[in-house]
């Protein structure tokens, strides 16, 4: 890679790695796994830096999702849980810093992984349904379904006062 491209890549890491870690954390609920996944994703991004892509950010998120799916898939049987809800592993840091308060992050971590990823991409990263579908590797209809169900479950978990105005996405 040419020095100017490496400098460009370094700038991207400096600007975006924190946000990508937060996205990975929303997906997996574990800061260590999030850090590992983002590091792996950035290395893969480095190896492909300069190749044409619609959006480097979206490409990085897709790699992160793929890495986390791969990990989850390997753990599917060893963790063997009766639902697709990810365990609340690693949330101790949140519990310690927020006490018993149910924060939006904590509520998000109680959603099934694809629902929380879809909500994060749509309403936190402000991506379109189509862009979200590309990252998650599913149809636009699936994205709408995931966000609808995810927001409905958030409603159940958070008080009506907090989420009563979350409108539009489910109607």
């Amino acid at each position: 890679m040419k020095p100017e491209h490496e400098a460009e890549f370094g700038d991207f890491v400096a600007e975006r790695s924190a946000r990508l870690r937060q996205f990975a954390y929303i997906c997996c609920g574990d800061w260590h796994r999030a850090e590992d996944a983002v590091q792996s994703a950035l290395v893969r991004l480095y190896l492909n830096w300069g190749r044409p892509t619609r959006s480097v950010d979206a490409y990085a998120r897709k790699i992160i999702v793929n890495i986390l799916i791969a990990q989850h898939r390997r753990l599917w049987f060893t963790r063997e849980r009766p639902s697709e809800v990810l365990p609340e592993l690693g949330s101790r840091d949140i519990a310690e810093s927020t006490g018993d308060r149910l924060t939006v992050v904590r509520a998000m971590l109680r959603l099934p992984e694809r629902q929380r990823a879809a909500i994060a991409l749509r309403y936190w990263e402000d991506l379109s349904v189509e862009e979200t579908a590309r990252i998650l590797g599913c149809s636009s209809g699936s994205v709408k379904n995931l966000t609808m169900r995810g927001l409905a479950r958030l409603r159940e978990m958070l008080s009506e006062a907090v989420v009563q105005d979350i409108e539009g996405a489910t109607t």
Partner: protein, 333 residues
């Protein structure tokens, strides 16, 4: 709160929650350069020749490949391998332990030797079409297994974490003595389709380092489903307490070289249907352990479903043991 305010709430909470990171542009570029060099090396003839020598050295030991041995005859002992040891830390009997994946997986000449032997064994299974996903991308559709799309066995690392019954929320955390890391060769996912419309059998293999596990089988713990650490497989104790378990069996036997062998089978109800799994854990005399897993399950919608209905395993426990015996005794480090 509108949906845009939902995003702002996440931003505000993350501003407080996000821990410091070791990721820098320089560190990623450094790792990227290392990977690039490694890829060039692995693509080159020198290392492939070295790998071929490793594989050849293993394969000339008679009886290490499935199908090549009379099951009634004892296999000769493995050639002596000085296995590095990764002793477990002191464990608290009151704690419940789990494994977490750590660090990026990588390939080594040893993993490639395992891959080559595994691939050869799997392709020798009669009557099945073997599928794999492409490279390291598990979201890609499964396709007929070939050398260039084979998901190689990788070396990864795993950490041991603990929780206690007194912990009201059951969160796991690293051991008080610091995070314990152990190497693990893991992967080799291959789906075998024996007939149209029947769920495939998905095979995978793990090779555990000497000292990094307790011998025997773990207990299914009702406090957290199916945790097995610090064992390599869970046994049947506790399965009666799980309403999702439909049937199970656990047997212990002895391998041809005096190895302890544990075979675990169970079926459980899942939203997608009845999922069944059979595992054979081979505790080798050099202190390492090989676990071959066979899951009868529809492939995930993420990777493309091979449609059909559940059924019975075609491969037997003895077949899985043969596959485990075919894994070469390379150093696990």
């Amino acid at each position: 709160m509108t949906t845009s305010e939902l995003g702002r709430s996440l931003d505000a909470e993350f501003a407080e929650l996000t821990p410091p990171s070791a990721i820098t542009g320089e560190s990623i570029i450094h790792k990227g350069r290392q990977v690039r060099v490694r890829r060039r090396l692995f693509g080159g003839g020198a290392v492939m020749a070295g790998l071929a020598a490793v594989v050849a050295a293993v394969l000339v030991v008679p009886g290490l490949l499935p199908g090549s041995v009379d099951p009634d005859a004892a296999r000769p002992p493995y050639p002596p391998v000085d296995q590095p040891e990764f002793p477990l830390p002191e464990l608290d009997p009151a704690g419940m332990y789990v494994w977490f994946p750590r660090e990026d997986a990588s390939r080594t000449p040893e993993t490639e030797a395992i891959s080559a032997a595994w691939l050869e064994s799997v392709l020798a299974i009669d009557g099945a079409i073997a599928y794999s996903y492409e490279g390291e991308d598990p979201t890609s559709p499964w396709q007929p297994l070939a050398e260039d799309n084979y998901d190689h066995v990788l070396r990864s690392w795993r950490a041991l974490a603990v929780t206690y019954p007194s912990d009201p929320e059951g969160f796991f955390r690293p051991l008080d003595s610091g995070e314990y890391l152990a190497p693990l060769y893991s992967g080799g996912s291959v789906a075998l389709v024996f007939a149209d419309g029947v769920w495939p059998e998905e095979l995978s293999v793990e090779v555990h380092a000497k000292g990094s596990f307790l011998p025997g089988v773990g207990e299914v713990d009702s406090r957290s489903d199916w945790e097995q650490a610090p064992y390599v497989v869970h046994g049947c104790a506790g399965m009666d307490d799980d309403p999702n378990v439909l049937s199970y069996s656990c047997t212990n036997s002895t391998g041809p070289n005096g190895e302890a062998v544990a075979t675990v089978e169970y079926s459980m109800a899942r939203p997608s249907g009845v999922a069944s799994r059979r595992q054979v854990a081979l505790f080798r005399t050099d202190g390492t352990a090989v676990v071959v897993s066979d899951s009868l399950t529809p492939l995930s919608e993420d990777v493309g479903i091979i449609d059909g209905q559940g059924g019975d395993f075609v491969l037997t426990g003895e077949d899985l043991l043969d596959l485990a015996l075919g894994i070469p005794p390379v150093p696990v480090k």
